[in-house]
Symmetry: none
Amino acid sequence: MSGKILIVEDELKLAELLADYLRKGGFEPLHVADGLGAVPMVRDEKPDLVLLDLMLPGKDGMDICKEIRNFSNVPIIMVTARVEEIDRLIGLELGADDYICKPFSPREVVARVKAVLRRSGAATIQDQGLTLDEARFNASLHGVSLELTAVEFKLLQILASSPGRIYSRSQLMDRIYPDERIVSDRTIDSHIKKLRKKIAEAAPGEELIHSIYSVGYKYEVETQP
Amino acid sequence: MSGKILIVEDELKLAELLADYLRKGGFEPLHVADGLGAVPMVRDEKPDLVLLDLMLPGKDGMDICKEIRNFSNVPIIMVTARVEEIDRLIGLELGADDYICKPFSPREVVARVKAVLRRSGAATIQDQGLTLDEARFNASLHGVSLELTAVEFKLLQILASSPGRIYSRSQLMDRIYPDERIVSDRTIDSHIKKLRKKIAEAAPGEELIHSIYSVGYKYEVETQP
DNA sequence: ACAGAGCTGTCAGAATTTTTTCCGCAAAGG
DNA sequence: CCTTTGCGGAAAAAATTCTGACAGCTCTGT
């Protein structure tokens, strides 16, 4: 298990300590000290995980978290000073993957990083009859290959990574295109249409992609009562 | 889909304490005291998350974890006695989603549960039998989905965010429309009407939205004398 | 380099769903 | 008793999604 870990932390000593332990744990730590640099850093370096301090100069950790979530599913672990803050954070539904309270032992941090990476780093998605194998670039439903194109695969991957969660068109576009390309909203519709068609051919009658009027799209398997 | 949590824990006092906190956090706790009953319980009850103590009579927590993983992807949080054990656990790659060390504060547990659950679905507002999940854009009452439209959802969200508080029609409109759009006051009535209808269909006889003559509307659960 | 095939992004109109308005009647308040 | 306010049904208006066609692009094999 290895991976680039971006540490967003203004206390240099702490950051170095963390980096040190992470390196010993087989990771490749990166560091940025202020909030402003964090988002571009995520964009450019594409780390495998972000350790994000909540208290930062320049920009609030919560805002950074939300911004990152607009274009990336990279796992985020929030670091906060007080236990009580965790409840509040969770209430806000920021989309972080875990929370750690100061003071912490660096070994605990490494353990958490491993835990989060293991559960989100899965290269394949399996849900009901659907299998998405990223390495093989292969999507199949009930054993039938879907023969998706690149965009379609990515789209399905994003949607299926969180069944039930709704993605707006702009969120989908942000994630499909790493560059900030401007494409029409209807483009998403078009790909959705093709995706649905291929799914329908592979498993007639099975609706996996649902549109929510004025909100976006979601992936979810129909559950018959 | 509100949040069934299965607690696998042999210390009854601890289990009850946890159950209590989880209930307050809006979850529906289930409990099983021995390892043997855990796996069938997961099969039958299909909980949304499992809190699994590592030290159990009858069967080892690690074995249970592996068994569950054979047929289910339900999120599992392991509870262990010592910090040092975590590293070992992680090395074993059991497939648990998180680890908590004893002694822990119940509120920390609830926080972790929420954090882990959010991946598969997050509840933002919970009040009595009502659940509003923004990420899934799903509102449910006593487990029955309300199938709301965008405006209806927003409206209910505003009202339910402060039970008992009265909102005037113009306040509601201001919050529903980010732009300063001009619509008739009666529009709100219309949405309220539909909201009530859907609520009535989901839970007959339950009145959640009340009108205050010449003032506005409020959300409040009836309390029987 | 060229042709052909398949992939992407755009567009306009049809289809669908939601939002808003309208109207009459009943209920509430003074 | 009279005016204002709330409610239900239904239709008009608006917004959103779906669909099929199409042009430009990329990739592949020749």
